[in-house]
């Protein structure tokens, strides 16, 4: 390797370092949530998610090694007739005082000679440790990672254990049946997922269709007030959504559209249009003028030019707009809150509801958050090409 190349690599080192650091900062918060969503809920509040892959340090292990290991052995079986790791024996120690009493008896019986007794806190830790390793609590068999959080979130389980454990024992929570119908439980993420799809798909198609019409007219057809009208429509982008909610929901109340899908489809279509028109006009308008001129000269009608030329040529813009709009609708909370509410809960509504009603139930929140992120991420990564291209058509060329 020549000196020049080494110099070049060294010169690039700061670039690599800076970029990798930035990428890590961007990635780590999401990774933290993903890891957490797969951890048993007992672990989440005890240790940070970054310890999930490190060897587990059992609380009380050091106390055991200090006091009892010299006599009972590291496997708890060194003393004849007394097996400290036997779940039945450990099960008898309901409180740490019982363990102290037991150890005293052992000393008096001459089986062991402890130099000193562990204090109250140490005995507590000791008992916790014995419970875990003996399996008296079932904790020793607790896996490091589990999909229970996801099952609980999808089914809308709100109990103290987990959906699978409860159903295995035949105990059903209030609104659950432990069969396939639980997938559609109104409190669960499964039902909300379907509702989100029912909202997002029509809300994506309608504004794009209308925007393609308008974008074509603003680009290649002439009519009086063209520029002024275009500026006005695009300018409507600045109207904050919140400003229109009250009048619209008043009208909806009269028409009986509150809580219906039709109501939210129309509203989202209205609000998707300003940006969609802006993007479509910029894209269709930046297509080569010669194509359109020669098409008109050949006697093609405006309609033929639209669906034979403008529409196919603007496919990239249509695709990117579709992704934009889909993500925006899928991720929206406010509009769904106002127009659908709890009648037809969508994913974002369901999650924000969980935040307020469950407090820090991180195991459910993290799993629910990832259920809601899965689809947009898949859409986004599989169609990223179009997304980026369309964004550029709207901003760079415009």
């Amino acid at each position: 390797m020549s000196i020049d190349r080494i110099k070049m690599m060294l010169g690039k080192l700061p670039t690599h370092l800076a970029l990798i650091c930035l990428c890590l900062v961007w990635l780590v918060p999401t990774v933290g949530l993903l890891v957490t969503s797969f951890r048993p809920f007992q672990d989440i509040n005890e240790t940070g998610w970054w310890t999930a892959f490190a060897p587990r340090k059992e609380a009380g292990q050091d106390v055991y090694e200090k006091y009892l290991a010299p006599y009972y052995g590291s496997d708890g079986k060194a003393v004849e007739g007394v097996d400290l790791f036997d779940p039945e024996l450990v099960g008898q120690f309901r409180r740490s005082i019982a363990l102290t009493v037991f150890l005293r008896e052992q000393m008096e019986a001459g089986k062991v000679q402890l130099e000193e007794m562990p204090d109250a806190q140490e005995t507590k830790d000791l008992l916790t440790y014995l419970r875990r390793v003996s399996g008296a609590e079932g904790a020793a068999s607790r896996p490091r990672f589990t999909v229970d959080n996801y099952i609980d979130a999808v089914m809308g389980y709100r109990g103290r254990a987990s959906y699978r454990a409860d159903c295995a024992e035949g105990e059903q929570a209030l609104d659950l049946n432990c069969n396939i119908s639980d997938l559609m439980n109104p409190r669960g993420m499964g039902r909300a997922f379907v509702n989100s799809l029912l909202v997002a798909i029509p809300c994506t198609i309608l504004p794009i269709l209308f925007a393609a019409f308008a974008g074509y007219a603003f680009s290649w057809l002439h009519f009086p007030g063209r520029m002024g009208l275009f500026a006005l429509l695009v300018g409507l982008q600045i109207v904050p959504l919140q400003m229109t909610l009250i009048p619209v929901s008043r009208v909806y109340a009269q028409l009986g559209l509150n809580g219906t899908f039709l109501g939210i489809w129309l509203f989202h279509t209205g609000f998707g249009l300003p940006y969609a028109i802006y993007l479509m006009r910029n894209f269709i308008g930046s297509l080569p003028r010669e194509i359109f001129e020669s098409a008109y000269l050949d006697g093609m009608s405006h309609w033929t030019v639209f669906y034979k030329l403008a529409l196919p040529l603007s496919m990239p813009a249509l695709a990117s707009l579709a992704i934009f709009q889909f993500l925006w609708i899928w991720n929206d909370l406010l509009v769904a809150l106002v127009f659908l509410g709890g009648q037809r809960p969508v994913l974002t509504y369901q999650i924000s509801n969980m935040v307020s009603s469950l407090g820090a139930g991180w195991h459910l929140l993290t799993a629910a958050a990832f259920v809601s992120m899965a689809l947009p991420m898949i859409v986004f990564f599989s169609l990223q090409r179009f997304f980026v291209r369309g964004m550029l058509a709207g901003a760079v060329k415009g």
Binding site: K12, T15, H16, L19, L22, C23, W26, V28, P29, T30, G32, L33, I44, E46, G48, W49, F213, A214, A217, F218, L221, H222, R226, M227, L229, L233, V234, G235, I238, V239, P240, Q242, M243, T244, I246, P247, G270, L273, I277, G285, S286, L297, H302, F306, N331, L333, L347, I351, S352, V355, T366, P376, M377, F380, F381, Q384, V388, L392, V396, K397
Partner: protein, 308 residues
Amino acid sequence: MSDVQVPEIMRQGKIAPWLYVAPALLIMTAFIVYPGLNTFLLSFRNADGTLPAAAACVEGEPCWGILENYRYALTAPIMLNAFRNNLLWVVLMVGGTVGLGLLIAVLADRVKYEALAKAIIFTPMAISFVGAGIIWKFVYAYGTGQVQIGLLNAIVTALGGEPVSWLSEPAFNNFALILVGVWMWTGFCMTILSASLKSVPTEILEAARVDGATEWRVFWKVMVPIIMPTIAVVVTTMVINVLKIFDIVYVMTGGNYGTEVIANRMYGEMYINHQSGRSAAIAVILILLTIPFMIWNVRRFRAQEAIR
């Protein structure tokens, strides 16, 4: 725009163009223009829209008559706080997203894993504010006991510091929220700026380097002037976005602990205090703030039309 620039060939009848525009026009009129105007009128009415705004005036206290709601929106302490916070948001978030976006675009351009790096930075754009809110609430989580399950406090305590309640401590919480905004939107700025950087002709860059210019000078004296129009677009778009920022604050703090922003106050006046007049006045002010940036965008659009 005058008719002179429109070629004769584009005249396709008098009614046809309007048919193309009609669906968009109708829906936008019904869902943006009408309710928007309705809200504008409401801004001059009292809390429930039944009387003129002046009805809310109290004897002996300052009153702006028909503009009473605007007096509240522009002078109430909680509103002043919201304006101050919004200014902080605009400066830090626009600066942060555009600055970092440009930095990452330039850095990524020089490495082989460009696509991967950009995808990582861009990913938060696909996530909802609710999802991002949960992700960052978890990062900022504050434990009163020994164990810190929030990453940030774990780092702070590992370095020997005291854990901080990031979202309720007034010294930090606005910055903590703005950081979430930067995390979500840097990918947007990066993508647009990166494409613009790639359109800078390599001959110009090579020529500057051959003349002995340092990379630093090449960046500031060659690249930045060429992509300036794009930077302007990104900045205006971001300013408009940030002025309307709502969800992050709503999900993460609900505007408590001094983190109010304008859009959040607007929501609060409407749905919590049931003061539709005040809420409408705040909305109108928000629009007035964004108008200069809108005009800038329209001007750019006209310039493009002229050179086409």
